[in-house]
Symmetry: C2
Subunit: 354 residues, 2 copies
């Protein structure tokens, strides 16, 4: 058990954005919101998964919305409180804890806001150890936990609770409602017991985020390579260093799909890297060769600062370094690969672990 | 207290469709569903409003959907059960009774299905004494009751509960969800106590429906005028007898808006009547003169059979009689007229009671 104070937040948001692999929301927005909530309500209690009792009622907290809208319409915090209260009324129990479902600049910070607003402890864990574009892509799904009952709320006070026959219906109905709500809302979903949380979530994610963010910041302050500092903590490696020469984007079915092309610099001069993304980075190819792919984490960092570049901020001329980091081992199981491996996203290549 | 048996249903559905003023759903579908439910589960207990205890939890039951879809995709009954269970979990109480929100061929019958499926008593009342196209157009609205908390469910088992800041948001979010569900769903909304029901709903609507339907049938069987038989029970009058010469339809914002033109026959030879509708019939004009308008009930009946013709079934060549019947007196109050009088629907004319 420890406290999250305002001083912890910048490193956490920085590291979370790297684990967000291009998605998971903007870390600047996440940082602002968490700072504001802690300034208003005081520090948040952070528990490790082991410190949670088996019969705890853990209600994860997330933000749903188009990334481009989130940059213009900041969450207020009300959304998360309203959605959590709505799910409590459906399940007939009070939430004892909240937790993050995915790592990401915004979605790692949102549960800090929820915990601060409601005065409940936050658990140091998440459902993926990364970010993924679709609602069912969580390790708890592998353990039979469903998104529903699920609640979605807006900043005005409108709350909608979903009890659906499967995750596909949960995704579909919530997507329509969030569009009406102005393309963003707070969500409560994948309600877990403490026991399920221990068995089915990735432990210590926020601590890892903070360590990554801290290492990047220290390297930058001491004029060392922040990108190498990041991979030294994630256990990954640098794939490529280059300059973005082209970004193609298509908004398909509510997702930001696209492709970024990089020309190599330094040791990679003369080579070209392509990154496919669907909210998150999916595959990195050098020439025709796949260097890394889902479920492993592909993160694009600003070469100079080591800060993550989310897919919506990829643009011509940016000098970036691309890193790959190993995913949680459960993603490498046959079930994990079926849920969110290359084939699910339409790729023919065999997954090769980083 | 009395029982509704299969034998009561045809008269009820026939009369309900007349009070539905062109909307409220198809009486044939309503009849089929109610018959099926009573055959499966036995008769339904019908209580008059006075027999309900003040602290009863009354959960009205309705069907939401495009009329054209309802004709092709029959409700199964599951929708209403699933939505009622969903609202119970939100309000934290069991429904003791159900009731109709509007009179209409389908929406008067749907609560019979709900009552049969769940084994709870039905109350002989409704929220309008007619049908109206928008969610907030109920007498309970005049007493400060809101649609929300509200639940919507489909035949597959998906349930969505809404807790909205106003009726406009309830309408908007439910409309999106019902579209995803395949344009039809069961709803539970405007939850009332027994006391509120007594004060704010129209009493004895199903009995009135049955009396109207019975009178029409008897007149037909004894070769008397079924249209005059209907108005003798509703306390209204015949406005016009004619042949439909033209029907214009526009689907605007989810509503079936349009205009029907009639050339007079019999005593009305040489004259023309126009009826504007928005799901329900709104205004009847002869030449330029308004003969009747909302909130009074304008019903189009087949001249021969006395059966109601819903707005989606208006078509060239039909020989019809147009009748007007007085609305519940609360619709004639300044607040009632503001909620659902001519001005709300964009008309400039002063309301003249039938």
């Amino acid at each position: 058990m420890r406290e999250i104070n305002v001083e912890n937040l910048a490193d956490m948001a920085r590291g979370a954005a790297i684990l967000g692999t291009g998605g998971g929301g903007d870390p600047y927005v996440g940082l602002l919101l968490a700072e504001q909530a802690i300034r208003r309500h005081g520090p948040v209690t952070l528990l490790s998964a082991d410190e949670v009792s088996d019969d705890a009622t853990v209600v994860p907290s997330a933000f749903m919305g188009a990334p481009t809208v989130m940059l213009e319409k900041l969450p207020t915090g009300n959304e998360m409180v309203t959605s959590l209260r709505a799910i409590e009324s459906v399940i007939g129990r009070r939430a004892t804890h909240t937790v993050s479902l995915e790592a990401g600049g915004l979605n790692s910070m949102i549960p800090i806001v929820t915990a601060a607003e409601l005065g409940i402890p936050l658990i140091d864990a998440d459902g993926m150890g990364r970010a993924y574009p679709e609602l069912q892509m969580l390790i708890p799904t592998l353990g039979g936990i469903t998104a529903s009952p699920m609640a979605l709320a807006d900043e005005r006070g409108n709350a909608v609770a979903f009890n659906t026959i499967d995750n596909a219906w949960a995704e579909r109905l919530a997507r329509s409602v969030v569009t009406d709500m102005g393309c963003s809302g707070g969500m409560s979903l994948y309600v877990l017991t403490g026991r399920q949380l221990k068995d089915l979530m990735v432990h210590d994610t926020l601590t890892l985020c903070e360590e990554i963010g801290h290492a990047v910041r220290l390297a930058r302050e001491s004029h060392e390579d922040p990108v190498l500092a990041a991979v030294s903590v994630t256990g990954g490696r640098q794939l490529f260093q280059g300059k973005i020469t082209d970004v193609e984007r298509n908004t398909v079915g509510g997702f930001a799909r696209g492709l970024a092309r990089l020309d190599g610099v330094g040791g990679d001069v003369g080579a070209t890297l392509e990154i496919d993304f669907q909210n998150e980075n999916l595959v990195a190819r050098r020439g025709g060769e796949v260097l890394a792919s889902v479920p492993d984490l592909i993160s694009v960092l600003d070469t100079e600062s080591g800060e993550a570049v989310t897919t919506e901020k990829l643009r011509y001329g940016l000098r970036v370094s691309v890193i790959a980091s190993p995913c949680d081992p459960r993603w490498r199981s046959p079930e994990g690969l079926e849920l969110a491996g290359p084939a699910y996203f339409g790729y023919a290549h065999e997954y090769q672990p980083v």
